[in-house]
């Protein structure tokens, strides 16, 4: 077992990380100005935060967290639908990430506290088990996540299902997030880190037209610390050389074409549609909806959730003042937002940047700004 573990730990080696950070610094020195790059995946931010990687990035490099957390950008009214279904008597199953996500007035956790039957599951397959265990009740799976997770939902949709099972899709589509950023003229983003696990499904060729059109290189990155650092080094190489190319820095998982059987399954069940993302606004092709031929599995069509009792239009209206979009694009700071710290706080977030524990606004609110820990005192006492 120890040998297997080293396989994984090789991607966390501090010596290699320092060498990569040095290489990054040399690239930034060669470019000779500030450079902004963006990642569009919540898990990248989680990994960057978890391993403290921001502390090793060159000061001239701005690594911006883009609109890439599918939970955070799930809109209040979408949560309202799930809350309405739960309060209406259906069992609602969902991933742990979604439980505390606020709707316009309440979350599924609030509904659960009032006695609604809300189940946290790790896999869509468990939601089907819940449906089998309660044949007399409607059981709804609130399906969140990017295409990687949508594929799992689709695989289950194609299988044999109990008649009382349906799906409330709030799945999101990664390429749409990058389009949103690149369409913003004011954006100073010069390159993108693409989400490795979404690219496992879609393949990295998907990003080629994007890079060619926008002039911004795209590097597909994995989630271990070295994966992320190596990808940023490569991205700064491409920026330095002015090459708007797609590079796959996660070859152990991502191929050019992607997972073809999974793509077939995905597009058989889902189709992209324009949707509103929390704090960002309308995103063309941003959401994944069940195709019409799966209407019988679509909780929206089958159960027609009545949100009138749970929707708070005043709260929904607040979103108009939310600056999440510009903050995510690096064009505004949390203090520029009229809601920050007043109408928008971690306990009652309005925008995606306050929902995520790694969101810019949440970090500013909790720590009074992005903390610089590079200069804090050294090593542990008594360490041999």
């Amino acid at each position: 077992m120890a040998k297997d573990l080293t396989l994984e730990l090789k991607f966390r080696d501090p010596a290699r990380a320092r060498a990569l950070a040095d290489a990054m610094q040399r690239n930034l020195d060669a470019i000779g100005r500030e450079v902004s790059v963006m990642h569009v995946c919540g898990s990248h931010e989680q990994a960057i935060a978890r391993f403290g990687l921001r502390a090793v990035l060159p000061p001239q490099l701005r690594l911006i967290m883009g609109p890439g957390c599918p939970v955070c950008v799930t809109d209040g009214p979408e949560v309202d639908e799930a809350v309405a279904l739960a309060q209406g008597g259906a069992h609602v199953c969902t991933y742990g990430d979604m439980l505390r996500l606020p709707g316009t007035s309440r979350s599924l956790a609030d509904a659960q506290a009032d006695g609604a039957r809300v189940h946290v599951v790790y896999s869509v397959a468990q939601a089907v088990d819940v449906a089998r265990a309660h044949p007399a009740d409607e059981v709804v799976f609130m399906a969140s996540g990017f295409e990687t997770t949508a594929v799992a939902t689709a695989a289950v949709a194609l299988g044999e299902l109990p008649a009382n099972f349906s799906i409330l899709s709030v799945h999101k589509y990664v390429p749409a997030a990058m389009e949103v950023v690149s369409r913003s003229k004011a954006s100073a983003i010069e390159g993108f880190l693409a989400a490795g696990h979404a690219a496992i499904i879609t393949g990295h060729a998907l990003f080629e037209p994007f890079a060619a059109r926008t002039g911004a290189p795209v590097v597909v990155a994995g989630f271990e610390p070295l994966d992320i650092l190596a990808a940023i080094v490569k991205l700064t190489d491409l920026i330095r050389e002015g090459r708007p190319e797609v590079f796959n820095a996660y070859p152990r998982c991502v191929s050019r074409e992607g997972n073809l059987p999974a793509q077939q399954v995905l597009w058989k069940v889902f189709q992209p549609r324009a949707g509103t993302w929390r704090g960002i606004g309308e995103v063309p092709d941003g959401n994944l909806d069940l195709r019409p031929e799966w209407a019988h599995l679509d909780a929206r069509r089958r159960l027609e959730p009545d949100v009138s009792g749970v929707r708070d239009d005043a709260a929904a209206g607040l979103e108009r003042d939310c600056l999440c979009g510009p903050i995510m694009l690096g064009l505004a700071a949390p203090h520029d937002c009229p809601l920050f710290g007043r109408a928008c706080v971690p306990e009652a977030p309005v925008g995606a940047c306050m929902v995520s524990s790694e969101g810019t606004c949440r970090i500013w609110h909790t720590y009074g700004g992005a903390p610089d820990l590079r200069r804090v005192e050294g090593r542990a006492a008594g360490r041999g």
Partner: protein, 95 residues
């Protein structure tokens, strides 16, 4: 939405596999994995589904890629990077 952890396939039963994640075992579904999976293979798990078979040589390929990235930026002249290369070589020698 990317929590994915690699694990080693211990047994396969139709479209279901028992996979070991460094001491914890879990049943994964194989409906959407990209290519046929055999006992002993590594697969990437996402929400209870194997989404990718990880060929062992591609783990080495990733390490070689880091190597190459360091090369291109001139880091190989760096003393630290020399140490890194020593480690990479040692890791390879151990297999």
């Amino acid at each position: 939405m990317c929590l994915g952890v690699p694990g080693k396939v211990l047994a396969i039963d139709g479209l279901s596999a028992t996979v070991d994640f460094f001491g914890v075992q879990k049943e994964l579904r194989l409906d959407i994995v990209d290519e046929p999976v055999a006992v002993g293979d590594y697969v990437l798990n996402h929400v209870g589904f194997a989404i990718r078979r990880i060929p062992p040589d591609e783990v080495q390929e990733t390490l070689a890629l880091f190597d190459q990235i360091l090369d291109v930026t001139g880091a190989k002249d760096d003393l630290m990077a020399m140490d890194v290369r020593g480690e990479i070589a040692a890791a390879r020698a151990k297999g």
